[in-house]
Each structure stands twice: as structure tokens, then as C-alpha cells.
């Protein structure tokens, strides 16, 4: 039985365990900012009351807005309160009352519009971006060329590729001898990091699987859900479910994006025989085969791991990525202190709460520095972008990469040295 958010709220006994893990509370030391306080606010401030008809109290707005939806509190809650559901429901009521933030509103419209799509907008951007942005020397990503409002010279944005994942895949040949699996790349991989998608597809092929990427897949809906736009979320869910139904012969859906996997697993109406798997889970299922493939090859650079919140806390996946890195790097895989702590990205949180997000990031960067690793691996494009910004801010030389990219490089590396062409 699913509880309403009101019933969910009542499960909280205010023990305070959320204080131990909330990244926002850690930085602010303010009770309104931790789950226990936010739940108290939601319970106390009844938005339906005449007093709040026009205006929602500022303290309520700030607290509800200041949440990364990182699920750290949920992981640490002995009562199992679905805190992020309560927060999303609160944002939903807020937007019903005040309307969505206009920037988010137009962005979400793009996610749903089939003609003026996100894909086309970003492709157009890929031609124009060099006017304002320049490539980072040591990392993947761009920083501004000229002063821009609200963006400082350390803000890293991904380079918009001219060729998106779908463009590469159009040229792909069918492989009837391989077993098909559905691959849900997610927006970041499709439009921003196509190489990540190609690497994942390559790894699947090496294991004997063909990653089917239906171009009709939409955004997973996590971003609209988090913003309190339940209407768009439902619409995106329905469209993706329709795609899944259409490919009824394939029962496994893999993704390399922690957030997408987290969202997909929560879908209502997912066919019972359908399985959503993070790529690390999928690879672990084919452990023997992959171990054989990797053979004696070993990454000779020190590598560490950052747990994406939506993998660790959202999907309870911690062992499989570590097994993978152990396989790739052996003794060169080292744990950082507090790999479980959020990096502060949280979807659009990094943009809307820059200062706070960077304070959270600074701790993560320090822990990464202290690990002595040259690469920090993380199975989430959002985390990778944030970590890259962290390296830039701290002037650290490590780079942030998806575990699958590291694996693909290793598998391609027959001669013992890297010889691959980066996709522009």
C-alpha cells in the first residue's frame, strides 16, 4: 500500500538521524535545512490555509528549495520515511500555487516537445558555444571566455557535441548474432557525453549483447519530479513505458546513469517481468565472462570511487561498482574517505545554489585529493561534471570518469597503451 505524503510524514519520530548525513545541514547547521526540520515545516505550514493563500512563508520556500534529493536521509532513516517523496509532493503543491519557475517551465516544455526538442536546441548550441566558452586544458568540459551573469570562470559546463549519441547510432549495423538488451542512455549521455554511451555499447558488445537504443526514449522524468512538475513527470513516464511495451521481447533495460536508473526503477506500471539494471549490476551478472575478457590487463593508474547518491542511496548499489573497479585496477583501486557523501550536484541544485553546492563539493574534492588517485570514477554524468568542477576549483590534476569508460579503454587497449580517438 502506498501512503499519502501526509501519512508518510507521520512516520517521522524526529530522532535526528538525518542530521548525521544531510549535506545541506552539514554546511548550514540549520535545523530547517535537515529532513526532520523540513518535514516539520511541511506539517506545520498548511499551504491550503487562507493565511498562505497568496504568499508562502519565506522560510518554507527556502527550506523546501534547499534539498539535493540525494536520499542520504532516507538511507539513514530507521523508520523508512520516504522523505524525497514528501519534498517532491511539497514542491508540487508549491508550483500548483505559484506556477513553475519560468526557466524550468520552458526547459521542461522542450523535454516534451517532439519538434523543438532538447536534442535540436543543444545541437544548435554546439555550433555557437565557442563564442562564449573555451575548452578546459586538462579536463573534459568548458569554461566561459567572457564575463557572464551568474557564471564565474570556474563553472564547468559540458562541451556540446556536434554528433549526439543518436547520430552515431544511426550509422550502426545490426548484429543479429548478439543478444539484444534495451539501453536507456539518459539525456546527459545522449546529448552531452555520447562517448560514454558508445563506451557502454562497446562493453555490451564485447560481452555478446546488442544495446538497443530506441530514439523515442524521453527524459526519465527525475528532473521534472524533483522540481514538482508531476504533470510532465507522468507524461514522460507514460511515453517511456510505451517504448518499453513496444519492445516487449526485450526484458532487460540497462542504463549507465545513476539518476535515470533510480527514476526508472520507481516507475508505476513497469511491466512485472521487466528488469531495470544499472550497468554495474548488469556487468556483475556476467562476472565470469567479463573477468575472462579483462584477463591480465590492469589499469596502471591509481583510481578511486565516488558513490553517486542515486546509485548508493536510491538503488542500494555499492558492491558492484567496487567489484568492477577492483577488476579493472586491482590494487590500484583505493577508497577515498567518505565515498558515500554527496558531491553537491543534485541535478540543477549546483546552478541554483552555487555557493552551498561548492561548499559541499570542496569536502568531496579534499577527500578525492587525499586518496592520491589520478582518476575518480562515478557512474553518474551529473557527479562527473560536478567533480570536474571540483578539480578545477582546487587545481587538482585527477580526472573524473565513468567506470564503463575506464573499462572500455582497458578492453580496447590491446597493445598496452591507449590508442583511441576522443569524440569531438
Amino acid at each position: 500500500m502506498t501512503l499519502t505524503w501526509q501519512q508518510e510524514l507521520k512516520k517521522c519520530v524526529k530522532c535526528g538521524a538525518c542530521m548525521a548525513v544531510c549535506p545541506i545541514y552539514r554546511q548550514t547547521g540549520r535545523e530547517e535545512m535537515v529532513a526532520r526540520g523540513k518535514l516539520n515545516l511541511i506539517e506545520r505550514v498548511d499551504l491550503e490555509k487562507p493565511a498562505h493563500k497568496k504568499e508562502i512563508p519565506a522560510g518554507w520556500l527556502e527550506a523546501i528549495d534547499s534539498c539535493l534529493l540525494c536520499c542520504s536521509c532516507e538511507e539513514n532513516c530507521s523508520k523508512g520515511v520516504k522523505i524525497t517523496e514528501i519534498i517532491a509532493a511539497a514542491r508540487n503543491r508549491q508550483s500548483a500555487k505559484q506556477g513553475l519557475n519560468p526557466i524550468k517551465k520552458s526547459a521542461f516544455a522542450l523535454l516534451l516537445n517532439r519538434f523543438f526538442s532538447m536534442a535540436r536546441l543543444l545541437k544548435a548550441g554546439s555550433f555557437m558555444q565557442w563564442l562564449l566558452w573555451r575548452r578546459l586544458p586538462r579536463h573534459s568540459g568548458l569554461v566561459r571566455r567572457l564575463p557572464l551573469p551568474g557564471i564565474d570562470d570556474k563553472t564547468v559546463i559540458p562541451a556540446l557535441p556536434r554528433q549526439q549519441l543518436d547520430d552515431y547510432l544511426r550509422k550502426r549495423k545490426a548484429a543479429p548474432n548478439l543478444e539484444p538488451v534495451l539501453y536507456f542512455p539518459g539525456c546527459a549521455t545522449r546529448y552531452l557525453y555520447p562517448q560514454m554511451g558508445l563506451d557502454l555499447i562497446y562493453v555490451l558488445e564485447q560481452l555478446g549483447f546488442y544495446g538497443v537504443v530506441p530514439p523515442e526514449f524521453n527524459c526519465c522524468g527525475l528532473v521534472t519530479w524533483g522540481a514538482g512538475d508531476s504533470k510532465s513527470t507522468m507524461e514522460l513516464q507514460q511515453r517511456n513505458l510505451a517504448v518499453i511495451q513496444k519492445h516487449a521481447a526485450i526484458r532487460q533495460i540497462v542504463t549507465g546513469c545513476a539518476s535515470c536508473g533510480h527514476a526508472l526503477k520507481e516507475y508505476d506500471g513497469l511491466p512485472a517481468d521487466c528488469e531495470i539494471l544499472d550497468i554495474s549490476e548488469f556487468l556483475f551478472r556476467h562476472k565470469e565472462k567479463l573477468e575472462k575478457l579483462v584477463g591480465s590487463r590492469k589499469l596502471n593508474r591509481k583510481i578511486t570511487y565516488h558513490d553517486p547518491c542515486h546509485l548508493r542511496k536510491g538503488q542500494k548499489i555499492t558492491a558492484q561498482p567496487r567489484w568492477l573497479l577492483q577488476l579493472i585496477a586491482g590494487e590500484n583501486f583505493v577508497e577515498m574517505r567518505h565515498p558515500e557523501r554527496c558531491c553537491g550536484a543534485g541535478g540543477t541544485f549546483g546552478l541554483s545554489h552555487k555557493a552551498l553546492s561548492r561548499k559541499i563539493l570542496a569536502e568531496k574534492t579534499r577527500d578525492t585529493d587525499a586518496s592520491g588517485a589520478e582518476i575518480v570514477a562515478s557512474g553518474c554524468p551529473g557527479c562527473l561534471l560536478q567533480l570536474t568542477e571540483g578539480a578545477l576549483l582546487a587545481e587538482s590534476s585527477w580526472e573524473a570518469r565513468h567506470p564503463v569508460t575506464v573499462l572500455a579503454d582497458l578492453l580496447k587497449n590491446d597493445a598496452g597503451k591507449e590508442n583511441r580517438k576522443e569524440v569531438e
Binding site: 547547521g29 526540520g37 519565506a58 522560510g59
Partner: protein, 472 residues
């Protein structure tokens, strides 16, 4: 907020700002204040104002300005308390110490840490471990409770059987009195007998005597290794005999936790190992120290109980250790499924009286027809007694209240105390005179009177106020 209060508050905040408080350190909005009025007892009251000082000097300033207006002061740490110690009243100011969270010094030579009160206990432990040092007190809330709160409540934990409680580690304090003056007590000396021992007086005073702003804590060398074992026994008395046997055989566990048969039944299905059906009491034993000593003690433990215990599992690595602890960790949520509500008391008795207490509570449970689940720290006699009930049923609620009266009566009869580690706060103040004579309470009140003649510092705690009702 009622109207007459508003001008007063506006004036007060103006003065606070003039004295250096930033606007982010002053919380006035209704909705935000409401987030500083609760703790883990599910009580709630909105303070008139919340302040987030960042230094001892700011605490002084705040208290002085409040004194001018004779306002009440309620110090607050992480508010994870179990006895209502930080619950304010609507005419009082909350001083939240969470922003005073700096570890000021780790003096490795003298093995002493100097901290601000808002430092989270677990964070200090993590920090000192980097220097091979150890801060032993381990309340269940250590990953979020603050040291200031631990000191104010004299928090304990499972390791108390070997390492003692918070009081055993507080070497000195700085604290602000209700008149706004700072006092210093204690120092870094192991031996120190100059004047009254105000440090000991302030530890466990539940924020009623002064607001703690700096703490000197004793550290010890970190143990080299830890060995965890789980033992099952057919009865509570067999388990108690086993504990006595351990000490007699020079085994000195750092932790002896127990689960009674209700607790065992609540978690049995979820455990990663199987427990014999006849298991009535489970002991979770940890031995720490140098590797050789831990090895020798563990071998002795094994030899002693291999045949006497129904089950003896020894954890071979960190993963197995975590598995054994799941029995204890899953307990709280598991027993919550037994009934909609629970009344949770944390009585303590001399260790030898544990079987007698458990037997008496068993009889009580049968008499009042409510399950009573007991678990806790067998090593130090601190028992968490949980009366399981549905408070929405008025008749059950009444039986629950009666049960608490009897639990305390049984405890005191057996030489125990109302609270082992949670404190009296406002939830147990109505029972204080069951434990202490009028003369004793008068002596305590005289101390309170000397420190806080106007009763403005955390009023309503420890001492029964006229008409105060126990709160469960």
C-alpha cells in the same frame, strides 16, 4: 506571535545585531522557529526567538541582552535527547549551539581534545582516530548528537562497562552563567583538587546551571583490535551468570549488550544467521585492546562458553562483525512493528540485579496485559524497557502509565535509578521524588537557586513543577 512580544523582539534583535550578530544567526520567522522546539521525545513548543551563536562571546552577549528583559534561555545541541531536555517554552529563547562546531585542539602529548559544544561526537572520534587516539563514550546517537549535549546529559553507551560514561572524560569546561559571565572549571591536569569540582557539577546538569561553550576531553590510546562474539543462553539468569563468570576469569569486555526473548523474536527472522529455538537471551560481547590480549581473552571466552552457551559465534572479520551487530541494530525498528506506540524508559540497576528486574518486569507484563520488551547494556545494568501499546486506546494508555509507575518502583526497590543515560528532563521530573528524599531534592534545588536565582535557564527540567505531569 502575540502582539506585545513583537516590539520587544524587534528591539532585542536590533541590539543583537549591533553587538555583532549577523541576520542569519537570528531566527524570528514563525515557520523557522517552529523547527527548534522539538526533540526525539515528540514534544514540541515554539520558542519566541532562536539564536545561532558562533562563539562563546556571542553566547555571553545573547544571555546578557536576555537578562535585561528577564527572558528565559533554553540551550540546544542536536536535540536528539530522549527526555525533553531542550524543549523550550513560548516565552523563551533557544540558544542553538550547532554552529559552534570547531575542534579547537587535539593535544597529542597530553591526550586531550579541546572542542566547542556543537562538535558532533562521531566527528571527534573520527578526527582523533587519525592520531591513534580514542574518545570512548558511544551513545547510540553519536553520529549526530553533539558533545555539548552529551556533557549536559552525561551520555553513556554500550562501551560504558569498560570505559565509563561522558563524565569520566570531561577534564574541564567553559560555560556562560545566566548573568552572562563566563566561568572556567577544570584543566588539563589529571590530578586537580583546587576548590569545588564545578566540572563534575555541570556534567549532567541538563542545561539548567550554565550554557557550556568549551569542553576539554580526555582521550585514550586507540585499542589495537576488537573482537565481537554473540552468545545465546536458555535464560536471563544463565546469561547473568555468564557475565559474572567473564569478569571472574579476567575477561574485560568493552561491551556486553543483551536482547531478551521478545527482542529475539522481533528480529529472529531478519538475521543473517539462525538462532536456536531455545534461545531466551542473547549477549553481544566485544573485547578490545592489544592484539595479544584480545586473542587471549577471546580464547578464554570460547573455552568458558563453548559447551554452556546454546550458541557461540565469533566474528572473523569486519563483515561478520557487522552481521552480528544487525541483531542489535534492527531491534528498534523491529519492535516498533509490535504495537503502534511504545513507552521507552532507560532504567539502570546494579549489574547483578538484572535477572531480578527482568523477572519482575515479566510478571508486570502479564499483569497489565501489555508486552514489555527489554534490551540494552547488560554490562553496566542499563536496561531499555519498552512497554508496547496503542495509545489511541484510552484504556491501554492508562495501563501504560500505570506500568511506568511500577517499572520505576521495581527499579528503585532493587537499588536502581530512574535514568541510566537519557536524563530526567521534563519527561521524568514527576518521578524525581520517588528516587530522592525531600532533603536531597532540597539540596539540588539550592544549587539550582545559587546558579539561577530567577529560574530562567532551562526551567521546567529535572525538578517537578507544581502540576507537572509525567510525559511518555
Amino acid at each position: 506571535m502575540t502582539q506585545p512580544v513583537k516590539p520587544l523582539l524587534n528591539q532585542l534583535t536590533a541590539e543583537l545585531k549591533a553587538a555583532g550578530f549577523a541576520s542569519g544567526q537570528i531566527i524570528m520567522a514563525d515557520e523557522s522557529r517552529a523547527c527548534y522546539g522539538y526533540d526525539a521525545t515528540r514534544q514540541s513548543a515554539d520558542p519566541m526567538l532562536v539564536l545561532l551563536p558562533e562563539s562563546g562571546q556571542q553566547v555571553e552577549t545573547a544571555i546578557k541582552l536576555a537578562a535585561k528583559r528577564k527572558l528565559k534561555i533554553f540551550p540546544r545541541g542536536a536535540a536528539s535527547g530522549m527526555s525533553g531536555g531542550s524543549i523550550p517554552s513560548s516565552d523563551g529563547i533557544i540558544i542553538s549551539l550547532t554552529r559552534m562546531n570547531r575542534i579547537l585542539e587535539i593535544d597529542q602529548e597530553n591526550m586531550i581534545a579541546t572542542v566547542e559544544p556543537g562538535v558532533v561526537t562521531g566527528e571527534l572520534q573520527e578526527e582523533v582516530s587519525r592520531y591513534g587516539l580514542f574518545y570512548p563514550p558511544d551513545p547510540a546517537s553519536l553520529s549526530f548528537s553533539t558533545l555539548g549535549g552529551n556533557v549536559a546529559e552525561n551520555a553513556g553507551g554500550p562501551r560504558a562497562v569498560k570505559y565509563g560514561v561522558t563524565a569520566d572524560y570531561v577534564m574541564g569546561l567553559e560555560a556562560v552563567l545566566i548573568n552572562g559571565e563566563t566561568i572556567k572549571c577544570g584543566n588539563k591536569c589529571v590530578k586537580s583538587v583546587s576548590g569545588y569540582d564545578l566540572t563534575s557539577l555541570l556534567v549532567g546538569s541538563e542545561g539548567t546551571l550554565a550554557v557550556i561553550t568549551k569542553i576539554l576531553l580526555k582521550l585514550v590510546p586507540a585499542p589495537e583490535s576488537v573482537k565481537t562474539s554473540l552468545l545465546a543462553f536458555p535464560s536471563m539468569s544463565a546469561a547473568a551468570l555468564a557475565i559474572t563468570a567473564m569478569f571472574k576469569n579476567q575477561i574485560s569486555p568493552s561491551t556486553i549488550e543483551f536482547l531478551d526473548h521478545h527482542s529475539i523474536n522481533a528480529v529472529r527472522e531478519t538475521l543473517p544467521f539462525s538462532l536456536p529455538a531455545a534461545a531466551d537471551t542473547v549477549l553481544l560481547v566485544e573485547i578490545d585492546g592489544s592484539s595479544t590480549s584480545v586473542m587471549a581473552q577471546s580464547q578464554k571466552l570460547k573455552k568458558l562458553f563453548e559447551n554452556k552457551a546454546l550458541l557461540l559465534i565469533e566474528a572473523r572479520d569486519e563483515g561478520e562483525r557487522a552481521q552480528l551487530w544487525t541483531a542489535r541494530r534492527r531491534l528498534s525498528p523491529a519492535i516498533a512493528n509490535l504495537a503502534p506506540h511504545k513507552i521507552n524508559e532507560d532504567i539502570a540497576v546494579p549489574r547483578a540485579a538484572i535477572p531480578a528486574v527482568i523477572a519482575r518486569l515479566e510478571q508486570l507484563s502479564a499483569r497489565i496485559a501489555l508486552p514489555i520488551v527489554c534490551f540494552g547494556h547488560a554490562g553496566d545494568g542499563n536496561i531499555h524497557v519498552n512497554v508496547m501499546l496503542d495509545k489511541n486506546d484510552p484504556e491501554q494508555a492508562q495501563r501504560g502509565v500505570k506500568a511506568v509507575d511500577e517499572i520505576f518502583a521495581i527499579t528503585l526497590e532493587l537499588g536502581g535509578t530512574l535514568s541510566g543515560e537519557h536524563g530526567i528532563g521534563n519527561t521524568k521530573s514527576a518521578y524525581l521524588d520517588k528516587e530522592w528524599s525531600a532533603a536531597t531534592i532540597a539540596a539540588m534545588r539550592a544549587i539550582k537557586q545559587a546558579f539561577d536565582p530567577e529560574n530562567r535557564l532551562n526551567p521546567g527540567k529535572i525538578f517537578p513543577t507544581p502540576g507537572s505531569q509525567p510525559c511518555h
